[in-house]
């Protein structure tokens, strides 16, 4: 067995992989010991190992909290919508940019759509609120001109959701498109030419050539996105939420900020984090087993 070709190939592979193993063990797995904080009453004096064990107490506190069900629901809803509605956009954007013929135009568009990613939500939130404000916002000014009435975009749950998702898409589309553009860069140009000669128009070329060639990348990003479904970004929600929509706009990260971290409740915050991780794991495993049916699983 040790003389097999497979073994021969694996030696250099493992030489490459050895520092990786060291890295993950030291920097990822070792600190995981800290997860026990979720099951203890952590305090500074006793440290991680000396603090007393309380088992599932913190989880009990979390789930008997009347707010928690609401917050979980909100997190899932917001996240799910962001995923379903937001996932196709970077792909779409990449495909569209890919179709640009003139190089300078292509580069300009690529750079322009890249900008919003750099603005943090303090700024983008401020801009969104200004645009959709009921009294003086641009959108409402137009609406008043058209229909004579204004609409409380930011205070009605439905429209708030749309704005929330929409602004998120706008901010990250250009950034997300980069990886798809990189994938499209590797597509063999002659395939397009051949298809063109066969009479396929550009739309069909996209459907039959561009899309399939980035299929593996799409799948993997989809799986990983599903895995992070519990993470609705704190900044985005915090900047856009207001009292009128708090029933749907309060999510795990904002709740944790209010109650967990600022209260010094490390163990509670850790328990919450642990719960999120478990859900993420289940989702990734599920997503992966579905993806495997299409031969695109992670493993």
């Amino acid at each position: 067995m040790f003389k097999s070709r497979r073994f021969q190939y694996n030696i250099p592979l493992f030489i490459m992989f050895a520092p990786i193993i060291a890295y993950f063990l030291i920097f990822k797995f070792a600190p995981m010991g800290g997860l026990v904080i979720a099951f203890k009453n952590y305090n500074f004096t006793d440290g991680i190992w000396g603090s007393s064990w309380v088992g599932l107490d913190h989880f009990r506190t979390l789930f008997t909290n009347p707010n928690m069900l609401n917050i979980l629901r909100n997190t899932l809803v917001l996240s799910f919508l962001q995923l379903v509605l937001g996932f196709p956009f970077p792909i779409l954007l990449a495909l569209m940019i890919n179709e640009i013929r003139r190089s300078w135009f292509k580069k300009t568009v690529q750079t322009a759509v890249f900008f919003p990613h750099f603005l943090n939500w303090v700024i983008v939130g401020g801009i969104v609120i200004t645009i959709f404000a009921q009294e003086t916002g641009i959108i409402n000014n137009i609406m008043r001109w058209l229909t004579g009435d204004s609409y409380p975009f930011l205070y009605n749950t439905g429209s708030w959701l749309a704005i929330f998702i929409g602004s998120g898409i706008w901010k990250s589309a250009g950034w997300g498109a980069i990886i798809y553009l990189a994938a499209l860069a590797g597509v063999d140009q002659s395939l397009y030419e051949a298809a063109g000669l066969d009479g396929a128009n550009r739309l069909r070329q996209i459907w039959h050539i561009s899309l399939p060639s980035i299929r593996p990348v799409i799948f993997i990003i989809l799986i990983l996105s599903i895995g992070s479904i519990m993470e609705v970004g704190f900044d985005q929600v915090y900047m856009l939420q207001n009292s009128a929509v708090s029933q749907i706009a309060d999510v795990i990260s904002t709740w944790n900020y209010r109650v967990g971290i600022t209260g010094g409740r490390f163990s509670l915050a850790a328990a919450l984090g642990f719960f999120e991780s478990i859900i993420g794991l289940i989702l990734v495993l599920t997503a992966n087993s579905i993806a495997r049916r299409f031969n695109n699983g992670l493993w």
Partner: protein
């Protein structure tokens, strides 16, 4: 090669371009607004008069920003952290994703699962800090570079790219007597320039913008980067929300909006200058063609 374009294709091209122009404009507007703010007078800004064009044109914000010569050190630090960081990131990401992309690697499934596991589960800030401290990395850039050496997300993307490279190329390299190292360096890396450029960009922007880890792990203010400076400017303004726990000093150190905007612009501009250089790697067909030929 010139082809006669059908009407349908022409329409497609036009519609495509129009939509992209509209979208690009919407992305540019906030930036234009920020630039306008950075060139406006403070009183105009407080009055809410600044839209897309500066009001009360003044270079004061930028003057003040650069007067604070800390900005040059911070900039230098940002550059060092980013360049070294990206180099390390790419090196380790490649060393991780290449083996995992080989279907004949022993324990491939196990390792992949284990690594994905680390993406989902983490001990949190305190164990992380304790680890960094026990390695003696506190207040050094090692604390910034090492813990985040490999982003699992990025690594998996690169692995996917590697897995997409045709097996024949690997075989041909082997037939020429090359081992795995040759396959990696002679075949895979040249073919993967797009994804390396993309990931380099991801890692780079990550390092450039990182402030939280800097605040926690690095104490010496002269080791701080640009992102920390700008973040301090932004945070100094949000004090209204903490009214119970302020001191007179907090009111004195509020950064004027114009300087804050100038700071943000200064942070974003280098990224925008670097990006076009990387874009050429995303031009379609450039590479596969070369290899085939």
């Amino acid at each position: 090669m010139m082809m006669r374009e059908s009407l349908g294709d022409k329409t497609f091209g036009v519609v495509n371009n129009i939509l992209l122009i509209l979208f690009s404009l919407s992305c540019l507007l906030p930036m234009v607004h920020l630039i306008a703010l950075s060139f406006s007078s403070q009183s105009a800004i407080v009055s809410g008069q600044v839209g897309l064009w500066p009001v009360g044109s003044t270079m004061q914000a930028y003057e003040k920003l650069f007067e604070n010569s800390r900005i040059l050190t911070a900039f230098k630090n940002s550059v060092i952290i980013t360049i070294v960081g990206v180099a390390l990131n790419l090196l380790f990401t490649i060393l991780c994703s290449f083996p995992l992309s080989r279907s004949y690697m022993y324990g491939r499934r196990f390792f992949t699962l284990a690594i994905v596991f680390t993406m989902l589960f983490s001990g949190g800030l305190i164990p992380g800090y304790l680890l960094v401290k026990s390695l003696g990395l506190v207040n050094t850039y090692g604390a910034i570079w090492l813990p985040g050496l490999v982003s699992v997300y990025n690594m998996l993307v690169m692995r996917t790219f590697f897995m997409g490279i045709p097996e024949e190329l690997v075989e041909s390299a082997r037939m020429d007597g090359g081992g795995e190292w040759t396959v990696l360096f002679r075949i895979f890396l040249p073919l993967s320039l797009p994804v390396i450029a993309a990931l380099g960009l991801f890692y780079g922007v990550g390092h450039w913008n990182a402030f939280f880890n800097m605040l926690i792990f690095i104490h010496s203010p002269d080791k701080h980067n640009l992102a920390v400076m700008v973040q301090q400017m932004i945070m100094s303004q949000s004090i209204m929300q903490e009214i119970g726990n302020l001191s007179p000093e907090d009111f004195k150190t509020i950064t004027p909006e114009s300087i804050k905007s100038a700071g943000i612009i200064v942070m974003v501009v280098p990224m925008l200058l670097v990006y076009p250089f990387l874009q050429k790697y995303f031009i379609k067909g450039m590479l596969i063609g070369a290899v085939k030929g």
